[in-house]
Amino acid sequence: MAQELKALPDETLVLRAQEDDDRAFGELVGRYETKVYSLAMKMLRNPEDAEDVLQETFLRAYRGLKSFRGNSTFSTWIYRITANSALMKLRKKQLPTVSIEDADEREAPINIVDWAPGPMEQLLTLETRQAMADAIEALPAEFKQVFVLRDVEGHSNADVAEILDLSVAAVKSRLHRARLKVRNHLTRFFNDTRGQKAMGARS
């Protein structure tokens, strides 16, 4: 039986779940829970908050299942609920986020030193991972949604637009600005760590 459910496409499971087949809904939960958790965790960076969003997402999906008309795929729908729940959480917690308008105020100009040459593996230390998470955290919430969905989770621009109910042009514009901000954050990080290493070598 469980084996049979595993073989079914999302659409069929949704139809069955809409007719109160709880096992079909359970199969959908199993398919998407890690993805939902991962998206929430990358946006919120806190396991308790991510778990809240996970629970909230599937509760809302369960309660709203009958209103799901299949205009989008189930995966788009579930990511949309996740991205919105996470956004609400960010706003409610009033985490130190910047509004989109403020975000484009000129940052202190930084000298883009080319820190990129060389193998990626050499750059990808534990400290770098920390800096990468910090860089996402520093983004305004609306940029964070786009950046995480597109560049971390690997969705296409068109999918991100559908998930967030934005035009593709708006996604591209936010993505561009988010990428520059994230890159600037990493540039500062690499400048600092290399500066410290150089100092250490001298002493």
Partner: protein
């Protein structure tokens, strides 16, 4: 093509989302301008680094707690307690 124009389109260039003639111009510019080359290299590496981010694992017990929450909701719904949500995505 100016450096400013290159910078404005660099994200689309990385996504190979530009008309071919613009893309060729960008390529030429980046080939001879070290500032834009640095912009290009660091942005490319930034995106590459995030592509290799680790997927966060759900903590122990997280799945079971989710299932339990949903069980309670199902019971509530079956007793006629739960209100159907007509706008679950909140958009």
């Amino acid at each position: 093509m100016s450096c400013k124009e290159v910078l404005e389109s660099i994200s689309s260039y990385l996504d190979e989302d530009l008309k071919e003639e613009i893309s060729v111009e960008m390529h030429k510019h980046i080939g001879k301008c070290s500032d834009c080359r640095a912009e290009f290299d660091t942005l490319t590496m930034t995106i590459k680094l995030y592509k290799h981010s680790e997927t966060p694992q759900m903590p122990a017990g997280c799945h079971d707690r989710l299932i339990k929450t949903l069980e309670i909701e199902k019971m509530r719904a079956k007793q006629g307690g739960g209100e159907p949500d007509t706008n679950p995505t909140g958009v």
